[in-house]
């Protein structure tokens, strides 16, 4: 993962420091129950009997010690450390974006930033003609007409098989190949699991898919193709040649840069935050490419402080 480094001048550094300090204070007010540990910190277990040491812990001189940086989690007797920055760990039902790296018999292999490659079986996805039937050898030979190598694909985590491999499924029109747009790769922990990961931003005319694995797709809006419309095959090749309109492309770039900026600052990515950043850049007349500059970087951090402070105030009044 390539990280964006932004150089700040002296006053900007001071402002950013103040903003981050403020954020840390706000965070400590909200959550006091969660214990954050770094490597070699002791985890207080209050001499309970029969503590089970989970992931990221070890015993040292009779004490439980963290071997990873993260948050201490407890489930009954089990104590483990949930790391803040780690590879993506899939859960059943996650919506992910991946890139096809290989076509194997009856399956595609996808890179999804997990410790192993994910598998999308031919039988666990809808055929383009939309008919439910057994997959034949002809279908298997035509797999490359559905997804090729390097294609960006959106799918859902189906579960782990008995042999430990990760299987995906794409049984709906909303899943499938993504075209006319760009893929951004950000740390997976910045994308929180939510009800909605597909976002059609109508005011911008684009689709935003926040994959749980940290792959973010930003592309021109594409209507889900109904199987009836698809009969009219002649129309599609013509459509493919069309370029994205300039206005939509500006919006795609602006949204992409807000995603890059928020991930560089380490703020969680929600569609509200992304749109808010894009709108702020528009209203303060910041050029698209200057969104990654030092000044807007600091401004975004300061705006986040205000947002969280007002959130906290609201909570107190309720």
């Amino acid at each position: 993962m390539k990280e964006l480094l932004i150089s700040l001048n002296q006053t900007q550094k001071v402002r950013l420091q103040a903003a981050l300090q403020h954020l840390a204070e706000l965070a400590s007010q909200v959550s006091s129950s969660n214990l954050a540990v770094t490597v070699a910190d002791t985890i207080p277990v209050n001499n309970e009997d029969g503590i089970l040491k989970g992931h990221g812990t070890t015993e040292f001189d009779g004490q439980v010690v963290a071997t990873l940086c993260g948050i201490v989690e407890r489930v009954n007797k089990l104590v483990y450390v949930r790391t803040l920055r780690a590879r993506y760990k899939p859960e059943v039902g996650d919506i992910i974006v991946g890139r096809v790296i290989e076509i194997a018999p009856k399956r595609w292999r996808l890179e999804i930033n997990f410790s192993q490659d994910a598998v999308l079986m031919l039988q666990s996805m809808n055929l383009p003609d939309g008919i439910q039937r057994r997959r034949t050898a002809v279908d298997e030979l035509n797999m490359r007409s559905i997804f090729e190598e390097n294609d960006v694909v959106c799918a859902e985590v189906r579960g782990f098989q008995h042999d430990g491999s990760l299987h995906l499924q794409a049984r709906s029109q909303k899943y499938g190949k993504l075209e006319r747009g760009q893929l951004l790769i950000i740390p997976a922990y910045l994308v929180k699991r939510r009800k909605q990961h597909f976002h059609h931003l109508e005011q911008y005319g684009l689709d935003l898919i926040l994959g749980c694995n940290g792959f973010v797709w930003i592309g021109e809006h594409a209507e889900p193709i109904d199987s009836e419309v698809l009969e009219d095959r002649d129309k599609i090749p013509k459509d493919k040649q069309r370029d994205t309109p300039l206005e939509v492309r500006r919006n795609i770039c602006r949204i992409s840069n807000s995603v890059r900026l928020l991930s560089a600052l380490g703020f969680a990515l929600s569609v509200e935050a992304i749109v808010d950043t894009a709108e702020a850049s528009k209203s303060s007349n910041v050029d698209i490419k200057d969104m990654l500059g030092a000044e807007f970087y600091v401004q975004t951090a300061e705006r986040e402080v205000q947002r969280r402070a007002s959130l906290l105030r609201k909570k107190r009044f309720v």
Binding site: K2, E3, L4, L5, I6, S7, N9, R99, I101, E148, E149, N150, D151, V152, K177, L178, E179, R180, G181, Q182, L183, G219, K240, D243, T244, L246, R249, R250, I252, C253, R254, S256, N257, R260, D287, I288, K289, M291, L292, G293, A294
Partner: protein, 288 residues
């Protein structure tokens, strides 16, 4: 290396045609550049240059040596570039060697002039202490820390900044020992001589993607290039070296056009570098 799907390729080509690239830049705009000097304390001069998400480090080490017998009035400069495996898995083991040597050759061509040492950006005769006997050997080492395209431009900028940061110890030759071949020298550890970097060029690479050419390509854009021309231009707007990469041919008129565009872009780049050098030196003085 970078695999892009047909849809992404088409999107990128369309963006370049519409003069709006995927990070919002126009065709000839550079990514934000930032500089730190003095990052390696053991070296005589060093610099880190960040160009968007591309990060490179250059260090200059000066050692006393003997001039080559054929060129007794010239010092020696060696450029070596290394691609760190931290920049990407493809640089692991011997994977980065091909790119490293390509970058080293490109930089040698652009900075060191011809075989005779004529036309070099670094004045080789200023490195000689006693003709035929003793001279400075400059070892220029570049390290690619994070690779996101346009490495040659970033490395050239890093070397230029590192050279301006370089202090070479003042040396006085003790004359009476000249009877033998070996000379006695006295290396001062207090007085340092600044290097004259006014002649060191910057490199501007123009990458041809589709029908247009772009400056400061990212690695995604570089994966789609047909050819790339690297032009090294000095402060006076003179072209010092030219390297072409990529298989596709270029029309001579396009080539001339690219050179004049690169010359124009280099003026901006040199101005940015100068102001960044001043800022970085001020920051370093504050720190120490």
């Amino acid at each position: 290396m970078v695999g892009l799907s047909a849809g992404e390729k088409q999107f990128m080509h369309g963006g370049i045609a519409q003069d709006l690239r995927s990070d919002g830049r126009q065709r000839l705009q550079f990514r934000p550049i930032s500089i730190q000097t003095g990052v390696i304390p053991q070296a005589n001069g060093s610099a880190r240059v960040t160009l968007g998400t591309t990060v490179v480090i250059a260090s200059i080490k000066a050692e006393l040596g003997k001039p080559a017998p054929l060129r007794p009035d010239k010092g020696k400069v060696v450029i070596f570039i290394d691609c760190s495996p931290t920049a990407g898995p493809m640089f692991e083991g011997r994977g980065g060697e091909e790119l490293s040597s390509e970058l080293s050759v490109g930089l040698q061509r652009c900075l060191l002039g011809g075989k005779s040492g004529a036309g070099a950006g670094i004045d080789l005769s200023s490195l000689v202490l006693a003709e035929g006997k003793i001279c400075w050997d400059l070892y220029i080492d570049g390290l690619v820390i994070s690779s996101d395209g346009n490495l040659l431009d970033a490395l050239a900028a890093a070397i230029k900044v590192a050279l301006s940061n370089t202090g070479i110890p003042k040396v006085s030759v003790i004359v009476e020992a000249s009877a033998e071949d070996q000379l006695e020298v006295n290396v001062s550890d207090e007085e340092f001589l600044q290097f004259d970097t006014s002649g060191v060029p910057v490199i501007v690479t123009l990458t041809k993607v589709g029908r247009h050419y772009i400056a400061d390509a990212t690695s995604e854009e570089e994966s789609q290039m047909s050819s790339a021309v690297s032009v090294s231009v000095n402060r006076h707007g003179r072209v010092c070296g030219l390297t072409k990469r990529g298989g596709a041919g270029l029309d001579p008129s396009v080539m001339l056009d690219m050179i004049s565009v690169a010359k124009h872009a280099s003026e901006n780049l040199i101005a940015v570098l100068d102001s960044e050098i001043a800022a970085a030196e001020a920051a370093e003085d504050d720190g120490s």
